[in-house]
Structures are given as C-alpha cells and as structure tokens.
C-alpha cells in the first residue's frame, strides 16, 4: 500500500503556495530525487493554476482535491475538480515550426508537464475532471 497525501484547496491562486509546501514536505519524507521533485512541483503548479484560471464558468468557490501517492517506483499526482469538462491530454502541442515571436503561448504549461512527467490520463467521473500524472522515480 503506497503512502499518500490528500488535501483540498479552494480555487484561488493564493492556495498554490500551501499546496506546494505540503507536497514539498511529503516529498522530503519520501526522498524523492531533486529532478523528479521539479517535475512534481511543475505538474502541481501548472495543472492547478490552469484549473483555477480557466476551469470554471462561475465566480463561486470550488474545492479542488489533490492526492499524491508515493510508491517504490513512482509518484502519482491526482487532481479532481468540478469545473467544466477539460481533457488536458487532448491539447495539441505548440507549433514549433512557427517563429518564436508568432507562437501562441497558450497551453505551454500543460505541454511542459506532459513532456517532463511520465504519463497523464484524464477521465470525467461524477461531474468531475480527474487527472492523474505519473512521475517515475528513476525517470
């Protein structure tokens, strides 16, 4: 049974710091190698800020669930939000054939996360987006 951390944050950007601090402490306890910590921090920040900024069609407060599981071979980060359906795995990669100046910067965060982690899945379940990101310890 892998050890896990669960927390819930509100959909406000000032909640990111608390989430980062909690997960950072969890990764300390589980001796996650530095390069992998970077990937996990990046995944957390990019995915959460994306949900908070673009995920909701109203101005109400929403809860976002975060779960981090630490296994022998990998870390898994699962995020659950009740925003509108959004599948980050369906997002096209930025068009790198365009000049840097002309390129759209939208979606850059999710692109980075997909490239720097080892797997991302999305499902819609009970009115929620459930995104699971896997980070291999030796990746």
């Amino acid at each position: 049974m892998p050890d896990e951390l669960r927390l819930t944050i509100a959909n406000r950007l000032d909640e990111l710091e608390r989430a980062e601090a909690e997960i950072s402490a969890f990764m300390d306890r589980h001796r996650v190698p530095p390069a992998r910590r970077y990937a996990a921090s990046l995944a957390l920040e990019e995915m959460l800020s994306n949900i908070i900024k673009y995920g909701y069609d109203d101005a109400a407060e929403h809860a976002i669930g975060i779960r981090v599981e630490s296994g022998a071979r990998e870390l898994a980060l699962t995020l659950e939000d009740d925003g509108h359906p959004f599948d980050p795995t369906a997002l096209a990669a930025p068009d790198t054939s365009q000049r840097i100046e002309d390129r759209s910067i939208g979606g850059l965060g999710i692109h980075l996360v997909r490239r720097m982690t080892d797997g991302m899945t999305w499902r819609r379940e009970g009115g929620k987006n459930v995104v699971r990101i896997v980070i291999r310890r030796d990746g």
Binding site: S41, I105, L112
Partner: protein
C-alpha cells in the same frame, strides 16, 4: 522559497538581472514590475543571471518571452546565463528561446553581446557613408 531579483546597471545601456529562488506564478508578477520599467529606449542588452534560479514554470517563461519581445522590438538583445540543468531543460522543452541566447556564464554572454554591438556599430557607420 520565494524569489530575489537583483538589478545591476551596466555600461552602454545594459542591465544584469540576477534571479535567485523560484520564478513561478506567485513570484513572477513582482519580478515583472521590477524589470519591465527598466526598459527605456536606450537599453540595448539585458542579461539574466540564473545561477541561483532553482525553478521556473510557464509563468516565468512568459516573462522571459515578453522581455525577449520587448528587446527585439528595440533591436536589443536578451541573454540568459548560467542556467541550472533542470531550468535549462524547461527552456529546451518550451523552446521559446533560441539556443544562441543561452550562455554558460555572464562573461560569455558579455563577449557575445559586445561582438554583436561592435558589428552593429560597423554596420551603421557603413550605412551613413
């Protein structure tokens, strides 16, 4: 860890900006307020010294891209020096900066920028002839 931004004015319309800590969605707006007002008409070069930069996310990359655009608009140059491996990897994956703008030290960035400026001065002399 938050971000520490140190700005140093240099000869001939240049700035050296030292970044230490994390350039993320929380710290980038403050950094932007510190750097963008520096960019007056006569600023030709900005070197970002990143030896102490431990983390950058897409929020920080957007600021670097904005800086690059503003410098390009005035025919100036932006260079990055001394990136830590993980940060360098993010730049590589994001592909928002030409590899020619990334240097292993401030000294090599300076040498490159000096060479460009000399070339441009020669060119402008040629054009006035």
């Amino acid at each position: 860890m938050p971000l520490k931004t140190t700005v140093e004015k240099r000869r001939q319309g240049g700035y050296l900006v030292r970044l230490q800590g994390r350039l993320d969605s929380e710290t980038t707006p403050g950094c932007e307020k510190k750097i963008l007002p520096l960019l007056e008409e006569k600023v030709h070069t900005v070197v970002l010294e990143a030896a102490g930069l431990e983390y950058i996310s897409s929020a920080g990359l957007r600021l670097v891209l904005e800086l690059r655009k503003q410098m390009a608009a005035r025919k100036g140059h932006l260079a990055l020096a001394h990136l830590q491996p993980a940060v360098a990897q993010v730049f590589e994956v994001a592909d928002i900066l030409p590899r020619t703008g990334i240097f292993d030290s401030v000294e090599s960035a300076d040498m490159f920028l000096d060479a460009i400026q000399r070339r441009e001065q020669v060119k402008s002399v040629d054009e006035t002839d």
